[in-house]
């Protein structure tokens, strides 16, 4: 294969990635050559600009044909586009948080790295979104992970930050090993790393031993990936890491890398194990056979997340558990495999992105001010800054899934999927019951904000970046709560995922 042959590919399909990559490199250099005392925030703004540019280019590709480069080692389909949009939007908002992040100690001289590591992490995520090849997926995953490890520990003189980084990387590497172990069997049974080839090969095989090994591989890959989703059983790192990492990083982990996790889960699970014949009955794909296991995992995730959150006194830990719980809700959609699977997951991730980032924006403001991350720091927020309190209220209500907010519509989608066709009453009931449990801790924060007297009545000053995030988040949560079809129709009309996912 010669240079010409390399040139014949539509590299333009990678424009968004190139933009991010280029700017990341640019930032590195700028950071290197800028005078030390100069404010690095400008780099952050450049990064934001880059993300916007990349969003624009992604939107430009919406509705286009499926482009594949180098036998799907890069693959641009509606699925990729849809989720890249989410990741870019999420990363963009996180960048706004990052720009206005002013921790007490530890981050003075690393602003530059702080910004472009976000970009590289985003790059990894985007690659994960649009690749049809195990190797590329793996590398993308690792790029995301390694960047996140460093980001988590970037407040190097802040013990909690270091510790969270340590815990993150150890668990992360173990999960990587497990995933790879599983993948290696997949490769071994198919002799290929290309998802579609794999699928084709597997649909041919009906050897019981292979089916058995594949199922084991499935379990390994899924459990390994559940690390990225922060889902049971690989969820326990989340609270510690969320608590220790700098708030923007926590936000990034809870939104972008969760999204990436679901992207890769869908890619691998659906395309490989959706077609491989299962042990019990060659007609039934492994995925269907594994549904009970998935249901179990999803249920456990929801219960653990919501129930343990009740006991939390630290706001970031509480949101860690809440994000575990939301992963559980999303897993319900994955488990039930309703025909509206992509709609429900995509929309829910969108809603979750908005409400969670908004919440983290407020958390960042409040915790920076108070210097600690106790829920009690929210006491009397309504006195100190009514607007902030009300906005937080709206976001919490959305997280709790009350009507009029995007969170509610997201849940509706999942429920329709769960009840349509073969209904999953138990799983749905667990979901709804745990949702009710979640009222307790979400409204616990409300109680602090509205009912309790303020510990210190000093007013909070809200940086520009936070304002932007809040406006987008709250407006989005309400808009998609009242007019969900703005999003749903966009997907319906432009991104026919089902059609070009398996081709």
């Amino acid at each position: 294969m010669s240079l010409e042959s390399l040139q014949q590919f539509h590299w333009s399909a990678m424009t968004p990635e190139f933009i991010i990559l280029g700017v990341a490199a640019l930032l590195t250099l700028l950071d290197l050559f800028m005078p030390k005392n100069m404010d690095r925030k400008i780099l952050g703004w450049i990064g934001i600009a880059a993300i916007f540019a990349s969003i624009v280019s992604v939107l430009g590709m919406v509705g286009g044909p499926v482009t594949s480069i180098l036998e799907d080692s890069f693959r641009l389909d509606s699925f990729a586009l849809a989720f890249k949009l989410l990741m870019l939007a999420g990363a963009g908002l996180v960048m706004f948080l990052a720009v206005s992040y002013e921790p007490k100690d530890g981050l003075e001289e690393y602003r530059g790295e702080f910004y472009y590591l976000f970009l590289t992490a985003l790059l990894g995520a985007m690659i994960m979104a649009s690749s049809g090849d195990l190797i590329t997926l793996f590398v993308g995953l690792e790029l995301l992970s390694v960047s996140s490890y460093i980001l988590a520990g970037i407040r190097k003189y802040h013990l909690e930050s270091n510790e969270s980084a340590m815990k993150y990387i150890i668990n992360g590497e173990i999960s990587t090993a497990i995933i790879l172990f599983g993948m290696s069997y997949v490769y071994g049974l198919t002799g290929s790393t290309n998802l579609i080839e794999i699928a084709n090969t597997l649909s041919g095989i009906a050897d019981s031993q292979h089916a058995y090994l594949l199922t084991l591989a499935f379990l390994m890959v899924f459990v390994g990936l559940s690390f990225k989703l922060a889902a049971a059983p690989f969820h326990m790192w989340a609270p510690d890491v969320y608590q220790g990492a700098p708030t923007p990083v926590t936000a990034f982990l809870s939104v972008v890398s969760k999204t990436a996790g679901f992207v890769i889960v869908l890619r691998i699970i659906l395309s490989i194990f959706g077609s491989a014949a299962s042990l019990s009955d060659p007609q039934v794909p492994i995925l269907a056979e594994m549904q009970d296991y998935l249901a179990f995992i999803a249920g456990a995730t929801m219960i653990i997340g919501n129930v343990v959150a009740l006991k939390q006194t630290n706001i970031k830990r509480m949101f860690a558990y809440s994000s575990i719980a939301h992963a559980g809700y999303l897993l319900v959609a994955v488990t039930t495999l309703g025909s509206n699977l992509f709609y429900s997951i995509w929309f829910y991730l969108l809603a979750y992105l908005l409400m969670n980032l908004g919440a983290f924006a407020i958390i960042q403001v409040v915790t920076e001010k108070s210097g600690s991350t106790k829920i009690a720091d929210f006491a009397g927020l309504y006195r100190r800054s009514p607007v902030l309190a009300v906005l937080m209220g709206i976001l919490l209500v959305s997280l709790a899934g009350f009507p009029g907010t995007a969170g509610f519509i997201g849940k509706l989608n999942i429920f329709i999927g769960a009840f349509y066709g073969t209904p999953h009453y138990v799983l749905a009931s667990v979901m709804i019951a745990t949702t009710v449990v979640s009222y307790f801790y979400y409204f616990g924060v409300m109680t602090q904000m509205f009912f309790r007297p303020a510990s210190d009545d000093s007013k909070l000053n809200i940086p520009f970046g936070i304002i932007v995030v809040l406006i987008v988040a709250v407006a989005g949560s309400l808009l998609f709560g009242i007019m969900p079809n703005i999003a749903l129709d966009f997907m319906q009309n432009n991104l026919d995922i089902l059609a070009d996912f398996f081709s």
Partner: protein, 502 residues
């Protein structure tokens, strides 16, 4: 003329007040109260207009509005399935409830101006939001819309209780939240199953669909769904043993909120049971009617007996609410015109009576800082007019003829005696107990030796007369000319009876 926009305006008119309030300074007490009160008026006027519209023999269907709203993609079924419409409408039954809501809301606003001592701005904004929710619940024409409004009532109520209530307000607020949360959760499951199975949540559509023999739901599933509904609305009503939250709320919440809560929010349960339970699942209702009758009698007696030994007047009223909701169940279980109409009457009349009673309790508490029967007594000396109204309200509540309470009680029992005389006979024991506990409480407060020296003006004065007189008037009018209610109900009843096939 085109009236389709009327309902939307009616439901969302309080929004105007919210917006105005949002831009008002926290401290402008008078102005805030004024706005809060005025913002309830448009809804009231429109509701009354609608009632007249009906009384002049026009068709209520003129009001119904329907517009495409949400389309859930991904389920490969063609239009109009799996889409939710924005549909509001009025039947006679709904009309009455809307009027009731509007009236009580306005009066509660007056009461709030009287009783709320702090942060009027927040209070009235939440209060108006709550009113939107209630009006929406009664006008919504499909289940999801209903559910949305239903939940919208939850959050303001939580805050109204938790912030403006009495000593144990937060506990009350939480138990309110958790119980109603569970109830609405069950409701949501039921709704989503119906939606996923039938592709629509339009109530009338579902009603017709279920009536068909080839309904897409197995009878077991139907039964399951109906029991779900029973639980969901049983929490709201409340049905024993799902009632403990409501006691806390009645005792801890501020009077103006309790007026709304016991006057209207509890009625959502009854409304749901009648409209969805009976409307969509008539056969299941039929099957369980005996159970429901028993539940009703249990509620009736349980509430009555417990009210008989309460020391706090608020608790007496709380338990009496449970007891009176029992009558609603009794009426429904009869499943004949008399019973159902009686149940509906009870819904309306209890709304008025309890609102009146709780307003008076508020007055009493404000004047004397207690609602313990033991600490009161002989109030008829210090506040004769209030005491008189309290007595009258009590009489209305124990079903004195000539007041609304009697008509509903009478019809409910009339209905049940036809179907299950024995159970009904047991139930009549409740009539005696009601008299016993209400007289015990009311006389304990108003009659006997006065425990205190009365200084200054204790009795009703000024604006306080408005709610008292209006409510009393309505109670008597309904009691004397029940046809003001029964007329609008006939069509609703016919449809329900059609569903029951009785």
């Amino acid at each position: 003329m085109n009236l389709t926009s009327v309902l939307s305006i009616l439901v969302f008119s309080p929004l105007l007040g919210i917006v105005v309030l949002a831009f008002m300074p926290k401290t402008a007490e008078k102005a805030i109260k004024a706005v809060g009160f005025l913002a309830t008026l448009p809804a009231l006027l429109l509701a009354l207009a609608a009632y007249l519209h009906f009384q002049f023999g026009k068709d209520l269907a003129d009001f119904s509005v329907s517009a495409k709203w949400i389309q859930f993609h991904g389920i490969n079924v063609s239009e109009p399935y799996y889409s939710v419409y924005y549909e509001l409408g009025l039947s006679g039954f709904q009309l009455l409830l809307v009027v009731l809501t509007a009236i009580v809301a306005t009066l509660s606003a007056i009461a709030a101006a009287k009783f709320v001592k702090k942060e009027w701005k927040g209070y009235f904004m939440l209060f108006l939001l709550l009113e939107i929710g209630m009006l929406g619940v009664f006008t919504a024409e499909n289940l999801i819309l209903f559910f949305i409004f239903f939940e919208i009532t939850l959050i303001p109520t939580f805050f109204l209780i938790g912030k403006w209530g009495y000593f144990e307000k937060e506990k009350a607020a939480y138990s309110f939240l958790i119980y109603n949360g569970l109830g609405s959760a069950i409701l949501l499951i039921v709704i989503m199953i119906l939606f996923a199975k039938t592709g629509s949540t339009n109530i009338d559509y579902l009603t017709q669909l279920m009536a068909k023999p080839d309904a897409p739901l197995s009878s077991d599933l139907k039964m399951g769904l109906f029991i779900g509904l029973l639980l969901a609305f049983g929490v709201k009503l409340p049905i024993f043993p799902l009632h403990s939250w409501m006691l806390k709320v009645h005792v801890q919440a501020p009077p103006s909120v309790v007026m709304i809560h016991s006057g209207i929010l509890l009625k959502i349960g009854a409304y749901g049971l009648i409209r969805f339970g009976m409307g969509i699942f008539p056969e299941q209702f039929e099957t369980l009617s005996v159970l429901i009758a028993v539940l009703g009698v249990v509620n009736l007696l349980y509430g009555a007996f417990l009210a008989f030994i309460q020391t706090d007047f608020k608790m007496v009223l709380a338990y009496s609410s449970i007891s009176h909701m029992g009558i609603v169940l009794i009426g429904l279980a009869a499943m004949n015109e008399a019973g159902v109409q009686g149940a509906i009457f009870q819904v309306i009349s209890h709304g008025l009576i309890s609102a009146l009673l709780f307003f008076l309790v508020g007055i009493l508490y404000e004047r004397t800082d207690t609602s313990l029967i033991g600490n009161l007594g002989g109030m008829a000396k210090g506040m004769p007019i209030a005491a008189g109204f309290l007595l009258a309200a009590g009489m209305a509540s124990l079903g004195l003829p000539g007041m609304s309470g009697f008509v509903s009680e009478f019809m409910s029992f009339l209905g049940l005696f036809k179907e299950m005389p024995v159970i009904a006979a047991v139930g009549t024991l409740g009539i005696i107990m009601t008299a016993a506990y209400l007289l015990r409480a009311v006389l304990g407060i108003t009659y006997g030796k006065a425990h205190r020296e009365f200084t200054g003006v204790l009795d009703l004065k000024g604006v306080e007369f408005v709610p008292v007189l209006v409510l009393m008037l309505l109670i008597v009018v309904i009691g004397v000319f029940p046809s003001v209610l029964s007329a609008p109900l006939q069509t609703t009843l016919e449809t329900i009876m059609l569903g029951i096939g009785g």
